[in-house]
Symmetry: C2
Subunit: 132 residues, 2 copies
DNA sequence: TAACTGTATTATCACCACTAGTACACTTTT
DNA sequence: AAAAGTGTACTAGTGGTGATAATACAGTTA
């Protein structure tokens, strides 16, 4: 199963769906034109109410990341990747804010630069969420 | 007034108080031993219910950042800065996650490294929240 | 026709941030 | 001693919202 939600999380289920979909598109796991799992199938496999799924998809459509065709399904939009890249750029300020805090907390310039470089070098290795 | 809250924000008022207090301590605006504005004064100046203020201070005390003396007031703990630095280190993974997303969005290694260096160089210039 | 798709509606529940009001005990100031 | 300020505790109520439940309608596909 592609999607995975954590019911214990404080972040709303519908936001988790949005977040994961965005990540799938950004990483090319979901390509433009690809069909997103249907409302009912997602609802069943995630044990989540259909309304919750629909809420997430509706929001994704408002952002232009997907488009829905009644009777057919919901698909990844062609400009999805571009839109996502732009949005990430918009989050730059927030990331800078966090890095500033980290600097105030005493991290060294060398350590931070090294971290960034390593992130680039390991760009293609998948992120593992487990602890093993 | 030191503190400032945004009632329109989606982030809870008591979390804003916590967040700002942490920032004040981290940046040395509030030093160990300094007294934090009283529950009632904060309540009055921020137009916020005393319970909301107390909720924030109680949580800060649980984290060991402040300590309260009934009848006297609430003060910044001696080890506050150390605790804060440790906590910030703990947030490293989250920051890395965001930087990874940024890389996936197409930011170049040079641009990111340049940004980090500039953050260090401008470390002492105050952050302005206004748009002027 | 049957089984799938998205979409819409209404009602209900639960949690939580927040407010309101009151009260108690302690410390400092006058 | 009195007053004013401090932290702390308790109960009650309100509003927003995330989530569920149960239907229903319309379009598409096998």
């Amino acid at each position: 199963m592609l999607y995975q939600i954590d019911v214990m999380s404080r972040v709303p289920v519908y936001e988790q769906i949005i977040e994961q979909t965005r990540r799938f598109i950004l990483r090319g796991i979901l390509e433009p034109g690809d069909q997103i799992p249907s409302v009912r199938s997602l609802s069943a496999e995630l044990s989540v109410n259909p309304n919750t799924i629909q809420k997430a998809l509706a929001q994704l459509e408002r952002q232009g990341l997907v488009f829905s065709v009644p009777g057919k399904g919901t698909f990844v939009a062609g400009k999805a990747k571009v839109i996502l890249a732009e949005q990430k750029r918009g989050e730059l300020e927030e990331i800078q804010r966090q890095l500033r805090e980290l600097i105030w907390a005493g991290i060294s310039r060398e350590e931070l630069l090294k971290m960034v470089n390593e992130l680039f070098d390991n760009r293609w290795s998948e992120t593992r969420e487990d602890g093993k």
